[in-house]
């Protein structure tokens, strides 16, 4: 997998984790009561890691990432059976059949999101 696509996926997963901790009461309860986690500390740690990983992206990718992040909660969209699951538009065959499978950074021509090809 392309190194920066992997970073983008990780950032997105960390942001999802943060959103869930912030917005889902049940998630907070489980993490506090079952795992003894301090939610405030966890949110701070996630924030720091996201910033650190965002800063590790090269300028052109970070610029696109920042633009997308202002519009969409998730900037990487899975491609399943040739469809971008960000905007539900078919992606170019050349992209969806990428022989290298996520070895290049690809974008959706319709919504602009980074694409992650799911097996």
């Amino acid at each position: 997998m392309h190194q920066h696509l992997e970073t983008l996926l990780e950032i997105q997963d960390l942001k999802s984790q943060k959103t869930e901790l912030q917005d889902t009461e049940t998630e907070r309860q489980v993490q506090e009561e079952v795992f003894n986690i301090s939610i405030d500390d966890a949110l701070d740690a996630l924030d720091r890691k996201v910033v650190e990983m965002e800063e590790s992206l090269p300028a052109p990718i970070r610029s696109r990432y920042n633009r997308l992040a202002k519009r969409y909660p998730r900037v990487v969209a899975p491609v399943i059976r040739g469809t971008c699951y960000g905007c539900f538009v078919s992606v170019a065959t050349a992209v969806s059949s990428d022989a290298g499978r996520n070895e290049e950074i690809e974008y959706c021509e319709s919504c602009g999101r980074f694409l992650y090809l799911v097996d």
């Binding site: 996926l9 990780e10 997105q12 997963d13 984790q17 489980v30 079952v34 966890a42 996630l46």
Partner: protein, 150 residues
């Protein structure tokens, strides 16, 4: 919803070989039958979750869990280590029983938290660790879950 329905064939290993926290997480992820690159990302996400605080809840049980885009559906695995692994558990004791849960960021059925809750509840039941120690097959393990109505 029955917990057993989330275990794919081969997702139960009663003889984990790993001796470290990282290795046991890698070994658990390998039970999910997913491709290598996805395994690597899941491992990193599990590690990041562990960095927030151990999922070792005591009584020799840990529930490592994460959500990631590389997981296309909710999946659960179980592993048992006879020797035990230092998982930095809440009670400081080695962990012998591992329930791994991975899920996509959004699931239509939204069962990630209920599954996590069921496993946590099951883990707290009296005598569970003795039963987990004595099971000898995947079928026995799944029957134990059924017996506890989880």
């Amino acid at each position: 919803m029955r917990l057993r329905d989330f275990f794919a064939a081969g997702a139960v290993n009663l003889d984990l070989e790993s001796e470290t926290k990282d290795d046991v997480m890698r070994e658990l992820v390998s039970l999910l039958g997913i491709d290598e690159r996805s395994r690597g990302i899941l491992f990193k996400m599990l590690k990041r979750r562990e960095n927030l605080g151990s999922t070792g809840i005591g009584k020799g049980i840990a529930i490592p869990h994460c959500r990631s885009l590389v997981a296309n559906e909710l999946r659960v695995a179980f592993g048992r280590s006879e020797k035990g692994v230092d998982f930095e558990a809440i009670d400081g004791k080695p962990v012998h029983f591992f329930f791994l849960i991975v899920a996509p960021p959004l699931e239509v059925s939204n069962q990630y938290l209920p599954v996590l809750g069921k496993i946590a509840q099951f883990s707290k039941e009296e005598g569970v660790e003795d039963r987990l120690r004595s099971i000898e097959s995947e079928d026995e393990f799944l029957a134990l879950l059924d017996e506890h109505n989880v």
